[in-house]
């Protein structure tokens, strides 16, 4: 993985190969878990970074739930490499990994990602057909059982924010739900999107503040301050409904309702010129600055057990 080109976008098969290489190179630190299968039978791979122990408290990071947000899968790949290179050299990360496990799902929506490479670069949703409609796919970030179907998602299968026929109808979502429930000890859950330069916490479906609103707010402020320290990229932050718009059935509302206090979602950088076609030379700077914010959240999670 030293020769993997982190400055370029990669296909799904290249990312799968990268994951296997990383595991082969770091067998004592990294393993691959297949938590399920996509609609088109692709494996849902999760990299587990662990220094031992059983059922340690854990941090979950995912990228690429929306297929066309290529910067997220690319950043996830960079994070994976960063985790192995910094363990043992960076004191903060070493302390985290000596106490907690980190799970990283680089491509949450592999069918959609494959489709962006081969058929439609602008595809966002899953690839499951919708009964009674010619439109394909569900927005996997409206398919969670948290305010499912409330305002902030669409009931129209042709919409980019179609919530699906029922909560967890998408195998890509259900696989994470089952994993989180069976693990039972995940303490932070960070879901990464692009491109609005935001860091948000629950809720999206209601204006009622989360019980931990104050702590989530101050940690978000610290995280985006640390992020900005590298290249000056300015983020907005706050609860999702206050920061962006009402959205129902979203990932972090479900994880928060499961008791995962540090539930956050990122919208990575917006250069104001390219939208989802962020040039590849932006991958590493985006990943580098995001890493600083991730470290802030992970460090806080490690130092503030609950």
């Amino acid at each position: 993985t030293d020769s993997f080109d982190y400055t370029q976008y990669h296909t799904l098969s290249e990312i799968y190969s990268f994951q296997d290489m990383l595991v082969a190179e770091n067998p004592k630190l990294v393993s691959k878990i297949v938590i399920g299968q996509s609609y088109e039978n692709r494996p849902l791979n999760v990299l587990k970074f662990s220094t031992g122990g059983t059922n340690r408290p854990a941090i979950w990071i995912d990228t690429g739930i929306h297929a066309r947000e290529w910067i997220t899968q690319a950043s996830g790949t960079w994070f994976a490499k960063k985790l192995v290179t910094d363990y043992g050299t960076d004191p903060a990360l070493t302390a985290i990994l000596n106490n907690m496990d980190i799970f990283l799902e680089i491509s949450v929506n592999p069918d959609g990602f494959y489709y962006t490479h081969n058929n439609n670069r602008m595809w966002r949703k899953t690839r499951k057909p919708n009964s009674g409609s010619s439109c394909v796919g569900v927005d996997p970030n409206r398919n969670w059982d948290a305010g499912f179907g409330l305002p902030g998602a669409s009931g129209n299968p042709c919409s980019e924010t179609y919530h699906g026929p029922k909560a967890e109808s998408e195998s890509e979502v259900k696989a994470i739900v089952d994993f989180v429930k069976s693990h039972g000890n995940i303490k932070a859950f960070i879901s990464i999107h692009s491109y609005s330069q935001m860091l948000m916490y629950p809720f999206g479906y209601t204006t009622t503040p989360a019980k931990d609103d104050a702590e989530l707010h101050s940690l978000a402020e610290k995280a985006i301050t640390d992020l900005a320290s590298l290249y000056g990229t300015s983020y907005t932050y706050g609860s999702l409904i206050d920061t962006i718009y009402q959205a129902s059935g979203i990932t972090i509302d479900w994880t928060y309702n499961q008791g995962i206090k540090f539930s956050y979602t990122f919208e990575l950088r917006d250069t104001g010129r390219y939208g989802f076609i962020l040039p590849a030379n932006q991958i590493v700077p985006t990943a580098q600055e995001t890493w600083l914010a991730l470290m802030t959240i992970m460090d806080h999670t490690n130092k503030n057990p609950y």
Binding site: F4, D5, E14, M122, S196, Y245
Partner: protein, 99 residues
């Protein structure tokens, strides 16, 4: 492979609540087949919308007649996608791992 030739991405910045609701109405005009990259949120917050070539004139006229300012963020999406593809293809790939 779907082509996005002639598609533009417009950046619209709503100046007041009336403009906000007018842009939201654009979302409901399904025949335009617009794709909101950045959804309508609040006043002075950019909305980015991909507009297919066949709807460009109508959407621009709609915005202009309502007095809503916009700029063209992406002039021709397919040109950018071609560049992206070219860049991906030109990079010397690392050899595949041995079986």
């Amino acid at each position: 492979k779907e082509s996005f030739e002639g598609h533009q991405v417009l950046r619209i910045i709503p100046k007041d609540d009336i403009q906000l609701s007018l842009i939201k109405e654009l979302e409901d005009m399904i025949h335009f087949e617009v794709d909101f990259w950045k959804e309508v949120t609040r006043v002075n917050t950019p909305v980015d919308v991909r507009v297919p070539f066949h709807s460009l004139q109508s959407v621009k006229i709609y915005l202009e007649t309502q007095g809503i300012e916009y700029s063209i963020m992406i002039e021709d999406l397919q040109v950018m996608l071609d560049e992206e593809q070219k860049e991906m293809m030109s990079v010397a790939r690392a050899p595949e791992p041995r079986n």
